[in-house]
């Protein structure tokens, strides 16, 4: 029975795709998890270059400092899973056309940093691609309090949410908590693709 389940999951994931907006702490860690899980295709969008300060929580390496995050992450994913199809888009998401790179994926993951941009992005996906499931996160900063994190389902929007956490403008971003949220998002994406694990 277990083998059958595994076979089914492998097949379904291989046929599926996830788009990730932002390749910082949330996006880079979520992408790596999805790659390990065997997702067939990833669309990765970011405009930033890797800085040394990013290494405290983002899935990159020292020697990659200065590289575009899209290129660095593609490189890292290919070391884990060379079969995955990766589309990289090295550009800033601009208000009015934020949904463009994600028209053709099964699930969108919001992994941006700024609250205003997060809100705008979610709004654009919900209005312009109303049938598209979107997974988002809010309340990433701080450490500890893992059990304050919950999932909120609001129609096609799935929020990984800690309403008591402070903004990253006023609190630290730490690797364990950011990675928990990132993997929470990736786990939700799997659940959306595969259906509830019964």
């Amino acid at each position: 029975m277990k083998d059958k389940k595994i076979e089914k999951i492998i097949k379904k994931l291989k046929e599926s795709s996830v788009g990730i907006a932002g390749l910082g702490g949330l996006g880079s860690n979520a992408a790596i998890s999805l790659a390990r899980a065997g997702i067939g295709r990833l669309v990765l969008v970011d405009f930033d270059k890797l800085e040394e300060s990013n290494l405290t929580r983002q899935y990159y390496f020292m020697y990659q400092i200065g590289k575009n995050k899209v290129d660095a992450l593609k490189e890292n994913i290919e070391k884990i899973n060379p079969e995955i199809k990766i589309e990289i888009i090295n550009q800033k998401l601009l208000k009015g056309s934020m949904e463009e790179p994600f028209k053709d994926v099964d699930v969108v993951i919001e992994a941006l940093d700024n609250a205003e941009t997060k809100a705008t992005f979610i709004e654009e996906i919900l209005t312009k691609l109303p049938d598209k499931p979107i997974v988002a996160a809010s309340g990433v900063a701080g450490y500890g309090h893992s059990d304050r994190i919950t999932t909120k389902c609001l129609g096609k929007l799935y929020m990984c949410y800690d309403e008591e956490a402070l903004s990253s403008d006023d609190d630290v971003l730490t690797a364990p908590r950011v990675a928990i949220m990132a993997n929470w998002e990736a786990n939700l994406a799997l659940e959306i693709i595969l259906g509830e694990d019964k």
């Binding site: 932002g22 910082g24 702490g25 949330l26 996006g27 992994a111 941006l112 940093d113 700024n114 609250a115 205003e116 997060k118 809100a119 979610i122 709004e123 919900l126 209005t127 988002a136 996160a137 809010s138 309340g139 990433v140 900063a141 909120k152 609001l154 129609g155 929007l157 929020m159 949410y161 309403e163 956490a165 402070l166 903004s167 990253s168 403008d169 609190d171 971003l173 950011v178």
Partner: protein, 66 residues
């Protein structure tokens, strides 16, 4: 004559829009979605949608970090 906002019981105000309710509740975060009785209300409709009596309102806010 009351509504529930994020699990908290508050007075219902006739003809109050989502925008007015958010102001009354002093929710100042950049908001993303408001759900009234399991129905999602988008930001662009906040100033038009009126909050009905006895409804359950969920307000999800976004804060920075990623």
């Amino acid at each position: 004559m009351s509504i529930e906002v994020n699990g908290k019981k508050v007075d219902w105000v006739e003809n109050e829009t989502v925008t007015q309710l958010l102001k009354r509740m002093r929710y100042i975060f950049p908001l993303v979605v408001v759900k009234i009785d399991d129905k999602v209300v988008l930001k662009k409709d906040f100033s038009e949608v009126v909050v009905p009596d006895n409804s359950k309102v969920a307000v999800i806010h976004m804060i920075s970090g990623g």
